[in-house]
């Protein structure tokens, strides 16, 4: 079950659309649910479906289409690095390798201490500032040289 607060937020999203088009709020609702739970479990998808009067399978389609939705638990910090062509040409593949080395994990893996998960992402609309890393879907870090990547990792390692 989602918390009162999340339910309220979802209500607010639903209110933005005509009553017979509640399902338009599905993406926003999934984000809110994921923010609360950290990932989208089957039960969570079910309750979103119920809130929006949608077929559960239709919610699942959305949740599996976009890779910002986590269908499995992640580490405390999910680092998503864009590996699309423009970023790739500007060093993001090297940056990704550096992250893998530093964290000792590959894509779609989580460090044993549960702190980091590494993911490959699609264009984030910041190609001019490659390489781009997104932290927990919300914090965008750009021009990620090796130094800046190290600094990011150190910062997140030390954070509470």
């Amino acid at each position: 079950m989602l918390s009162e607060e999340s339910l309220k937020k979802i209500e607010r999203e639903i209110a933005k659309y005509p009553p017979d088009q509640k399902q338009s709020a599905v993406m926003a609702a999934l984000i809110i649910a994921q923010d609360e739970k950290g990932w989208l479990a089957t039960e969570t998808l079910d309750s979103v479906a119920q809130l929006l009067g949608m077929a559960p399978v239709a919610v699942y389609e959305v949740a599996t289409f976009y890779n910002m939705y986590n269908r499995a638990p992640t580490g405390r910090y999910k680092l998503t690095i864009c590996t699309c062509l423009p970023c790739g040409l500007q060093g993001s593949l090297d940056a990704a390798d550096h992250l893998k080395d530093r964290l000792g994990i590959g894509f779609n893996e989580t460090t044993p201490d549960g702190r980091f998960t590494l993911k490959e992402g699609e264009c984030m609309g910041a190609c001019a500032m490659a390489p781009v890393v997104l932290v927990n879907n919300k914090r965008m870090c750009d021009a990620m040289s090796k130094e800046r990547l190290d600094a990011l990792i150190d910062e997140l390692r030390e954070s509470a």
């Binding site: 077929a55 559960p56 399978v57 239709a58 699942y60 389609e61 599996t64 976009y66």
Partner: protein, 935 residues
């Protein structure tokens, strides 16, 4: 130039060029459809008639002169003067490329004989693909009916549209993205564990064999196909048997008027009961000296402890002699017959004729008594006809659909799909039921009212309509009588007063009443939740009043529709399997009708209405009735307080049972006559929509089993009747002579059209889907209001028995389970008896889902597996009555509605406890059927 209305414009023909020829298209069709009409084939995969075009495969690309890119002909409509080529080198190259790419991923072995992809590949001469194959998912064989092999999937999403847009079951999804995209069931669950209801619509839609009937039946070399009608429910879907040898390999839906290609799990996968080894293949006679034991049924495999095989001559002689002797010694009143709503019209007609002319009384009835007798009583009284006013598919024209006391997704699954489609299109769907069933998910309003308070709820709606001035005064004035009494009665039922009784807020009642009264077209559907109460007739009277006072009847998209349960309960009733009426509802105590039938049949007839089902059983218990002939019914399971019913049957001096299995009733017989299953004979049945439809023979019956019609005939001759019917056609012709409603339906027409709607009084009449347009078939032509008061159920919960028992059916099992528990797939899906209980009630009893619980009433006790169901209201238990080892009817209360004589199956007091013996093995079902049939 004259102005053209939008409507006219939408109907104007469009002239354009197709592959160089001038063709005329319609504005409502696509290029591919128009091409097909003109004999031009355009390759296609994701398009299939009947489903929304999705345009995803691009196999159907055509060149349009003057356009830069090719166009998908399945999504594009023609326009005036357009020049389209489907066979130009450019179009062909594109089409072939699509086919080649898809072919590259196909598995080496085929999963079906006629893959559409393979067909187009061959037609267009596509060679070996030049591309590497992708990695493909493995097979999912978790479902008993359907094999999933996505390596043959071309992602055309036809299955998805079939599941979500046609059937609206919402199981199939297209998940993930890019190269990971795949067809999924629910959240990528194994199909057997998903919420799939096995309607098979996706299998029928799949072009490549990725979804196929399980156990490789899709690869069977079919010898012949036979068009027929489904034997299970009142929807009456037309279907095609695909036969190999003497075995039905699989079934597909036909474009019938009630189903348009759709079927449900029973119609599609339930046919193999005909091949079950328990089929009776020889006549049986009770061994001398073996007593009838009402407490224990004979396990089908131990039949020889009780019976011995006999020749047909011997068995018929014993059967007829016993009946004759009782007639001679004790008079006609000592005999009775139960016909069946599962048989054909011709069988029903001959059966009642046999009772009326051979036994000499009107003691003939069938299970209509247990399902819609009260509805029919109210309808005959109110509007002069017991049949539906509008057909199910008329929901397409309705603005509002009110479903009360019915669970169509389980019991009329294909009918439910039309309702769900209508709801998706934007029609208001109001579902009122004490149980929250699947349809509620699609409802705009769901009213979970307190069991037994139907009249309170409905009268409150009637009150609102009067109170708020929403009555259709003109309709009431011109077409009805008795409105003042209804109005006066309604005064006392203000929604505000009824709300605490029925548990629905007054505001909701008012809103729903307003919507119903004011919509452009409102249809009412109801089921056994309305009829199976001591106040069943009153419940139906209220529904009739609602339709009449608002004028929501007599037009398309309006009307009253009691959803008929059995495949032929409409037809069996029409054919006179009812104690008070001859065929076509002509009352036996009406001298005119009596004279008509005396003339037709050439014998004197009893003018006294006969006894009804429960009355006959009671009379047997009291030994007033001493002999019975039962054709295809199983009162030892279907009657209320079934321990009493079994004892009654055991007390008969002579019981003749004609059936295809050794049912619980047959186990109490003196003579058992082996009959034919539905695919083994020819006959007509009449569905809930008043469509008379032709069932055809696809299989030879096993052993010495004989066609039911032949058996009835033979027995009639044994009773001294001079009958010579050789073919159902002769019987049907006789029926036409005494049943005005079908007088215009010829056998030839049935053979040609397969389905004809009545009333059809004259040959060539199209049949009337919507009736009561101008008048009602009553003496005055007016309909009559009959007000109803609150009558409580006969037995209310108390401290000793604090809960309410609701009985009913489930999707997979039909009636007493004799057939469906011997069907491989249906038995595999629902093998064991279960009780649905609210999770909190279950917890209160200290039990967990899956554990055995006991349910007891004042009449009996059963134990079965608990299923937690949030749709079941607190304080209620729902038990399907199809299971011998936990027969719900051991608990039910045999009290009757005074008008319809229907028992109160939907309400009695019970108590629930954790624990009890595990449900025993009746010798069939329990997941054994598949192995028994497939060997």
């Amino acid at each position: 130039m004259d102005r053209v209305s939008t409507k006219q414009q939408a109907a104007m023909p469009i002239e354009f060029k197709l592959n160089g020829n001038t063709v005329v298209g319609r504005p409502d069709e696509t290029i591919i459809e128009c091409a097909r009409r003109h004999g031009v084939e355009i390759p296609h995969l994701c398009y299939t008639p009947g489903l929304r075009p999705d345009g995803n495969c691009r196999a159907c690309m055509v060149e349009v002169k003057g356009e830069r890119v090719l166009a998908p002909s399945c999504c594009r409509g023609p326009s005036e003067g357009m020049e389209v080529t489907s066979d130009s080198p450019r179009a062909r190259a594109s089409q072939k490329m699509v086919l080649e790419l898809l072919l590259a991923d196909m598995p080496a072995q085929a999963y079906r004989r006629d893959s559409e992809l393979a067909r187009w590949v061959e037609k267009l001469g596509v060679g070996a693909p030049r591309f590497a194959a992708r990695a493909q998912p493995g097979a999912d064989l978790s479902h008993p009916a359907i094999a999933v092999r996505l390596d043959a999937c071309i992602q055309c999403t036809r299955c998805l549209r079939a599941c979500r847009e046609a059937q609206v079951n919402d199981v199939i999804g297209y998940a993930q993205r890019g190269e990971h995209s795949k067809i999924v069931f629910d959240f990528d669950d194994p199909m057997g564990a998903s919420s799939c209801v096995a309607c098979g619509e996706c299998v029928q839609a799949c072009p490549t064999g990725a979804l196929m009937p399980a156990r490789e039946w899709g690869l069977a070399a079919i010898d012949r196909t036979v068009d027929s009608v489904c034997p299970f429910c009142g929807v009456g879907c037309l279907l095609t048997y695909h036969v190999k040898g003497n075995r039905i390999a699989f079934v597909t839906g036909q474009d019938g008027p009630s189903n348009h290609g759709r079927l449900c799990v029973k119609g599609r996968y339930g046919f193999d009961y005909a091949h079950h080894p328990h089929r009776l293949t020889k006549p049986l006679i009770r061994k001398p000296g073996v007593a009838k034991d009402p407490e224990r049924a004979v396990a089908p495999q131990d039949w020889d402890a009780v019976f011995m095989e006999a020749s047909w001559d011997e068995a018929l002689a014993v059967a007829a002699r016993g009946l004759r002797e009782i007639r001679e010694r004790h008079g006609a009143g000592a005999l009775a017959g139960f016909g069946s709503a599962k048989g054909s019209n011709e069988e029903a007609y001959l059966f009642q004729k046999l009772v009326r002319t051979g036994f000499g009384s009107n003691n003939v009835d069938h299970c209509t008594r247990l399902c819609h007798a009260s509805s029919v009583a109210a309808l005959l009284e109110g509007i002069g006809s017991g049949a539906v006013s509008n057909q199910v598919n008329d929901v397409a024209n309705a603005e509002l659909i009110f479903v009360i006391g019915a669970n169509p997704t389980s019991n009329h699954p294909v009918a439910a799909t039309w309702m769900k489609n209508a709801a998706q299109r934007g029609a208001k769907l109001i579902v009122a039921d004490p149980r929250r069933t699947d349809l509620a998910r699609h409802a705009t309003h769901f009213l979970q009212f307190t069991p037994d308070t139907d009249v309170a709820l409905l009268n409150a709606m009637i009150h609102t309509i009067v109170d708020e001035g929403l009555v259709n005064e003109a309709f009431v004035r011109d077409r009805t009588s008795g409105y003042e009494a209804l109005k006066a009665n309604a005064k006392a039922f203000a929604p505000e007063k009824m709300a605490p009784i029925c548990g629905i807020p007054a505001q909701t009642i008012r809103e729903v009443a307003r919507l119903y009264a004011t919509s452009k077209g409102s249809m009412i559907f109801w089921g056994m939740g309305i009829s199976q109460h001591v106040h069943g007739t009153d419940n139906a009277r209220c529904l009739i009043a609602l339709a009449l006072m608002t004028g929501q009847i007599g037009r398309p998209g309006t009307g009253l529709h009691p959803l008929r349960g059995q495949n032929n309960v409409q037809g069996a009733s029409d054919s006179g399997l009812i104690p008070m009426v001859f065929p076509d509802y002509q009352r036996v105590d009406n001298p005119e009708a009596n004279a008509r039938f005396e003339k037709l049949w050439g014998v004197a007839l009893d003018r006294k209405p006969g006894l009804t089902v429960v009355e006959i059983i009671n009379a047997a218990y009291d030994r007033a009735i001493k002999g019975m002939y039962i054709m295809g019914e199983n009162p030892a399971m279907s009657d209320p307080d079934v321990a009493h019913a079994r004892a009654a049957l055991a007390r008969l001096d002579h019981l003749v049972v004609q059936d295809i299995f050794l049912t619980e009733t047959a186990a109490l017989a003196d003579v058992v006559l082996p009959a034919t299953a539905w695919p083994e004979k020819v006959g007509t049945v009449t569905n809930t929509d008043r469509m008379v439809q032709l069932g055809r023979k696809a299989l030879e019956p096993p052993g010495e089993a004989r066609e039911d019609l032949w058996i009835v005939n033979a027995l009639a001759r044994g009773l001294g009747l001079d009958w010579k019917y050789n073919h159902p056609r002769q019987v049907f012709d006789e029926m036409r002579r005494c049943m005005d409603s079908i007088a215009g339906i010829t056998w030839e027409r049935l053979e040609r059209d397969a389905s004809v709607t009545y009333p059809c009084p004259n040959e060539g009449d199209p049949g009337e889907p919507v009736v009561f347009r101008e008048v009602f078939p009553t003496a005055t032509g007016r309909a009559k209001f009959v007000p109803a008061d609150l009558i409580p159920a006969a037995e209310h919960p108390d401290t000793e028995y604090p809960m309410v028992l609701i009985t009913g059916r489930q999707l997979e099992h039909w009636h007493t389970g004799a057939i469906t528990r011997r069907s491989g797939v249906l038995d595999a899906i629902e093998p064991e008896p279960t009780a649905l209980v609210h999770p909190l009630d279950l917890a209160a009893a200290g039990a967990r889902p899956g554990e055995v619980i006991s349910v007891a009433s004042r009449r009996g006790k059963i134990s079965l597996y608990a299923r937690a169901d949030e749709g079941t209201p607190r304080g209620c238990v729902f038990v399907p009555f199809a299971y011998y080892e936990a027969a719900a009817n051991l608990l039910t209360n045999p009290v009757l509605d005074p008008f319809g004589k229907i028992p109160e199956f939907k309400y009695c007091a019970v108590k629930l406890e954790r624990g009890g013996p595990r449900p025993a093995d009746p010798g069939y079902g329990k997941g054994s059927a598949l192995a028994a049939i497939e060997g």
